[in-house]
């Protein structure tokens, strides 16, 4: 009987279960060690060791057949994974994570589909305690796969990163979600002989929903979306664990589900917006069109003046943003920081939680450029020091420094915590033009009397200033 192998697994030996318990303990330990930079790398290896144990013991089960296909799948996956991981540039990390997340979600949906076919082929119905997790894994896995692919496309700029909002899209998405749920309920009621056609319709509906759900979300909100999709894939894996009676899938999937949820909540708190607002507002789509900007005078300076301001300062804080990533300027910025430190200037980097395109994006880039992590300061930590800071240098960041978030209750970003560069004695903003940031709103900081604008590419500017500092 076809049903037999799966039953055999669920009754698998104590030894197998013990190995699974060891594996998920290593996952928990590994993630725990990930909370400090000194132990994080070892933590990652510990988690990877847990994964090797889990995969090896599963392969050794006597119910596992089709060895040649398994080998093909593993070799193919390993080749793609290794090549992609070594080729990817640090600035492209958000899209890489989105892609890995997507394939995980895709695997979950495919496994659920396979389970469905397997159960219905046997000619009897599917008990609800297996069918409900199968449907959950199908819908969430599929949404995660397609949503992650759209996120990848936006981050890679294959698709426009601006929010794409079709007319009535939210209503349509809502109806689609309701239809998917209705389909699942019909399948569940009819679990003695569920319709394969309806199941496929649910699978396709979830795929469409995954696409439509991420399309209206703009580039700067991607940190939230990626965290959320990460949580989705984790939950899809946990659901598959329920369907397959596999304890390590349940534990590992749930761990990722809850960690992804925490990160998502933290990100949305850092933007002072609710999850619903982030996901459904199509932020920037409306406000960019509104608001005519009046011409206001700005102070523009060159690299020489900037070098003098920085070279003779006691303390300098760099505030990096996505513009630094786009210009690949992290190494040039680090060189400038080194030149300043040689002169005895105290240098720090202020990192806004949502700067860049994924949580902690700036930290990874600056770590790549060899900036020690002690110099990477979190927003809450650095803001009290801002009034004592001589010069704040904003590099490719915009909305996260906009004082309107504090001062103007009508601003679209009102209430969002910002890096308070306007508290520093002087501000230098390195930017290519006066164009507004992602939120499409003007930044009062640029017109502030303390502020000097250096109109240039971030990388060129950092190199020019470093050269001038050497001349001082």
């Amino acid at each position: 009987m076809i049903q037999a192998p799966l039953l055999a697994l669920s009754q698998s030996s104590d030894f197998v279960i013990a190995c699974y318990i060891l594996a998920f303990s290593l996952f928990i330990l590994g993630i725990r060690q990930g909370t400090h930079p000194r132990t994080a790398r070892r933590g990652n290896l510990i988690a990877a060791a847990g994964m090797v144990i889990a995969v090896a013991i599963t392969l050794s089960l006597d119910v596992i057949g089709n060895g040649a296909l398994i080998l093909i799948g593993i070799l193919l996956g390993t080749a793609v994974g290794v090549i992609a991981s070594y080729r990817v540039q640090m600035t492209a990390m958000p899209q890489m994570v989105a892609l890995y997340n997507g394939v995980g979600g895709g695997a979950a949906a495919l496994i659920a589909w396979s389970e469905f076919l397997h159960e219905t082929d046997a000619g009897h119905g599917i008990p609800l305690d297996i069918f409900i997790p199968i449907l959950f894994s199908t819908v969430i896995g599929s949404v995660s796969f397609w949503g992650s692919n759209i996120a990848f496309g936006k981050l890679q700029e294959i698709l426009p990163s601006r929010p794409i909002l079709l007319p009535f899209q939210h209503i349509f998405n809502g109806l689609l979600l309701a239809a998917i749920l209705a389909g699942c309920i019909v399948l569940g009621i009819d679990n003695d002989s569920p319709s394969e056609g309806l199941y496929i319709a649910v699978l396709i509906g979830a795929a469409v929903l995954g696409n439509l759900f991420v399309l209206p979300i703009g580039g700067a909100d991607m940190p939230v979306v990626i965290s959320l999709l990460n949580a989705f894939t984790g939950l899809a894996a946990a659901a598959a664990g329920f369907a397959l009676d596999n304890v390590v899938l349940i534990v590992a999937g749930t761990l990722v589900g809850s960690s992804g949820t925490i990160l998502t909540l933290e990100m949305s708190r850092a933007m002072n917006r609710s999850i619903a607002n982030l996901l459904f507002s199509g932020f920037g789509a409306v406000s960019a069109a509104a608001g005519e900007r009046e011409e206001r005078p700005v102070t523009s300076i060159g690299p020489e003046d900037a070098a003098i301001k920085l070279g003779y300062a006691d303390s300098v804080v760099f505030v990096p943003g996505y513009g630094m990533a786009v210009a690949q300027a992290q190494h040039a910025v680090k060189e400038l920081a080194d030149e300043l430190q040689k002169r005895g200037v105290d240098v720090n980097f202020a990192i806004h939680p949502v700067a860049g395109r994924m949580p902690g994006h700036m930290n990874v880039l600056l770590a790549e450029a060899d900036v020690p992590y002690e110099q990477l300061r979190e927003m809450e930590e650095i803001n009290p020091e801002m009034p004592r800071t001589d010069v704040a240098v904003v590099i490719g960041a915009n909305d996260v420094t906009n004082p309107a978030a504090k001062d103007d209750p009508d601003s679209p970003i009102a209430g969002m915590p910002i890096i308070e560069v306007d508290e520093a004695h002087q501000v230098i903003v390195i930017k290519r033009s006066l164009s507004p940031g992602f939120a499409g709103i003007d930044n009062d900081l640029f017109y502030h009397e303390k502020t000097s604008m250096l109109f240039s590419d971030a990388k060129a500017a950092a190199q020019d200033i470093a050269a001038e500092v050497q001349e001082l």
């Binding site: 994964m51 965290s227 902690g360």
Partner: protein, 111 residues
């Protein structure tokens, strides 16, 4: 396994996840996400289990793709996390002499 036991495990794992993750500093959010991302590659086990019972072409194709996807998720996820974490360095070069003098002094005092 009983459904109720599975639900118990699920709820406890959710709390463990919250506890473990809530202490992570912003600095490490990207590698952490990338690492948990690799952990959900565990879904690949599901592929191994379903392909074990696959007996027609469609099931075999779906199973093989699922295993390949899961493997990309695992291998790529852990490797890329390792690459990122390898770049995080403390201020180990310059303050090292200080740290050494500090550690030497007490032992000398002990002698």
């Amino acid at each position: 396994m009983d459904l109720i036991i599975e639900i118990t495990i699920f709820v406890l794992a959710a709390f463990v996840g919250f506890e473990v993750i809530s202490k992570v500093p912003t600095t490490l959010h990207t590698p952490l996400m990338s690492q948990t991302n690799a952990v959900h590659g565990i879904i690949m086990l599901g592929g191994l289990i379903v392909i074990g019972a696959a007996d027609d072409v469609l099931l075999k194709v779906i199973g093989t793709i699922a295993i390949a996807f899961g493997t990309i998720n695992i291998v790529g996820g852990f490797l890329v996390t390792d690459r990122m974490l390898g770049m995080f360095r403390g201020r180990d070069r310059k303050p090292k002499p200080e740290a050494e003098t500090e550690s030497v002094t007490p032992s000398e005092a002990g002698q």
